[in-house]
Amino acid sequence: MPVVKAGVLALQGDFREHARAFADAGATPVEVRTPEELVGVDCLAIPGGESTTISKLARAYDLVEPIRERARAGMPILGTCAGMIVLAHEVIGGEPLLDLMDIAIRRNAYGRQVDSFEADLVVEGIDHPVRAVFIRAPIVERVGPAVRVLAEHEGHPVVLEQGNLVVASFHPELIGETALHGYLLRKV
C-alpha cells in the first residue's frame, strides 16, 4: 500500500505538531501553503492557531476554493480549534471561511487565556481517555443533522464528525495524541 501524503495547512499555528502526529500515525506529512502544494495530498489537517490570521492568509493565497473543492470531492480533513472554526458553516459574530461543516461556533467562548484548561475526555472510537488541552477554545452552539458528536465536555460537543470531516475544539496534537490523526488516515 502506498504511503499516504498527509497535508498540513502551514499558514500559521501549531502545524509542526500536526505533521509529527501524522508521521507517528504512519503517513508522510506535507506542509501546504499554496494551492499547488494542496494538489498532491491525500488528506489535510488544519491546525490550531489564530483563526483570523489563518483565514486572511488562506484568502490572500487563494486556498479557500481549492480546499472546498477537494473536501467536496471527499478529501478527509481534520481541524483542531482554529481549524474547527475555519471549517464551520457559521461563526457567531464573524465570517465563515470554508463553510464545510454544518455547525455554528462561538470563538474564545470559555473566556480569556486564564480560563484555558485541560481535562480528561472519553472519545467515541478511542480506547483510552484523552487528555484534552483547551486553549482560548471555541464552543459549538448548534449541530446540524448530518453531524455526529464523538465527545462532549460539560455538555458541549468537542469532537464531531461529518462524513470526511473530523473536528476537535482542543489540541490532541499538542500532547502527541495521534488517535484522531489515525482515524482520519483510515478515511483516505
Binding site: Q12, G49, H171
Partner: protein, 295 residues
C-alpha cells in the same frame, strides 16, 4: 472531567498556537485594529513603542489599564501586555485585567535589579527576553512559558536579534554533543538548572516556543529570523514608526508565513514606503542598551 487551569501545558500551549505568526506592538485600540486586520496573531499593549521610550527617556511602565481594556474590546486575537522586570504587582494587575500573556520586558524600566518575577505564582503565562541559552533557561526555571530574543528594541536594526538567536543555536548545538557526565558542569557554566539543561540536550531545542524580537523592521528581517529557526516574530516600533503601517504590517505577516519562498518575499517587499529610520548599535552607547537589563 475536572478542569485544570494555569498548568504549564496550558500556558506554553498558547505560545504553540502563536507560532508562524507576528505579534505587533500597539499603543491604542486603532493600532490594534490595524494589526488584527493585517493578520497579526496577537498584539502587545504598551504605553509607548520602544523607539519613543528610547527617544523620550523617563520611566517606562505597564500600559494604562483603560488603554488595555479598550484594546481588549476592539480585537478578538490575544492581547499581551508588558510588565517591568521584577514588578510582580504590575503582573498581578495585568492578570486581573485578563490579558492573555505578560511580557516581563527589558524595554520597560526595571523595578528590581536582582530578581525577576516568580512566574509560577500566576495563572496568566509569561514571555521573557533572552540573549543566550543560560538566560532563556533561567527565565523558564522562573516559570516563563515562552522565550523571545531580546535583540535591541526600538532600533529598527536586526543585528542584535540575529546575534542572540545565533548564540542560542550555537549553545544548543554544543549541548547536544556533550556526554551525560558533562551536563552538571555545563549547567554551572550556563547558570541554569541541570534538569532543563538535560531536557535541551535531549530535545535539541528550547523546551518552549522561541520568537524573535528587537529590531525587526522589514519583511526581509522577519523572514531572516524565521530562516534562523525562530518560531515567530514580535515587531515593535517597526510597524507604527514606518511611513505606512497597514501595508507593512500585512507584508511582514505574509513574509513570516512564506519565509522560505524568495518569490513571495520579493512580491510583498514592493511599494512599502520608508521603513523606520533606525539606529546603528554603535551610536547608542553601552549605558543606553536595553538588552543588558535583567540577567
Amino acid at each position: 472531567m475536572e478542569r485544570e487551569t494555569g498548568t504549564f501545558r496550558v500556558k506554553s500551549g498558547l505560545a504553540e498556537m502563536l507560532k508562524g505568526g507576528v505579534i505587533m506592538d500597539v499603543t491604542t485600540a486603532e493600532q490594534a485594529k490595524i494589526a488584527e486586520d493585517a493578520g497579526a496573531c496577537a498584539v502587545m499593549a504598551l504605553e509607548r513603542v520602544p523607539a519613543d521610550i528610547r527617544k523620550e527617556g523617563g520611566v517606562a511602565r505597564m500600559a494604562d489599564a483603560t488603554k488595555i481594556e479598550e484594546i481588549q474590546k476592539t480585537v478578538s486575537i490575544p492581547v499581551m501586555a508588558k510588565a517591568r522586570i521584577g514588578h510582580f504587582v504590575e503582573a498581578q494587575i495585568l492578570q486581573a485585567l485578563g490579558v492573555d500573556y505578560v511580557d516581563e520586558s527589558e524595554v520597560l524600566t526595571p523595578a528590581d535589579q536582582e530578581y525577576h518575577i516568580d512566574k509560577w505564582a500566576f495563572t496568566v503565562p509569561f514571555v521573557c527576553g533572552a540573549r543566550n541559552l543560560g538566560e532563556a533557561l533561567r527565565r523558564i526555571a522562573e516559570g516563563a512559558a515562552m522565550i523571545r530574543t531580546k535583540g535591541e528594541a526600538g532600533t529598527g536594526n536586526v543585528v542584535e536579534a540575529v546575534r542572540h538567536q545565533r548564540t542560542m543555536l550555537r549553545e544548543i548545538a554544543e549541548l547536544t554533543t556533550l556526554r551525560p557526565e558533562q551536563h552538571v558542569a555545563q549547567a554551572k557554566e550556563l547558570g541554569a538548572p541541570v534538569d532543563l539543561v538535560r531536557q535541551v540536550a535531549e530535545l535539541g531545542r528550547l523546551p518552549v516556543v522561541n520568537f524573535a524580537a528587537g529590531g525587526i523592521a522589514t519583511p526581509a528581517d522577519a523572514a531572516l529570523m524565521m530562516q534562523l529557526g525562530v518560531d515567530g516574530v514580535f515587531v515593535g516600533s517597526g510597524i507604527f514608526k514606518s511611513d505606512d503601517p497597514a501595508p507593512r504590517a500585512r507584508a511582514i505577516v505574509e513574509a513570516t508565513t512564506h519565509f522560505n519562498d524568495p518569490d513571495v518575499l520579493a512580491k510583498v517587499s514592493r511599494g512599502l514606503g520608508e521603513a523606520m529610520h533606525g539606529l546603528d548599535i554603535g551610536e547608542i552607547g553601552e549605558e543606553n542598551l536595553l538588552q543588558t537589563r535583567g540577567w
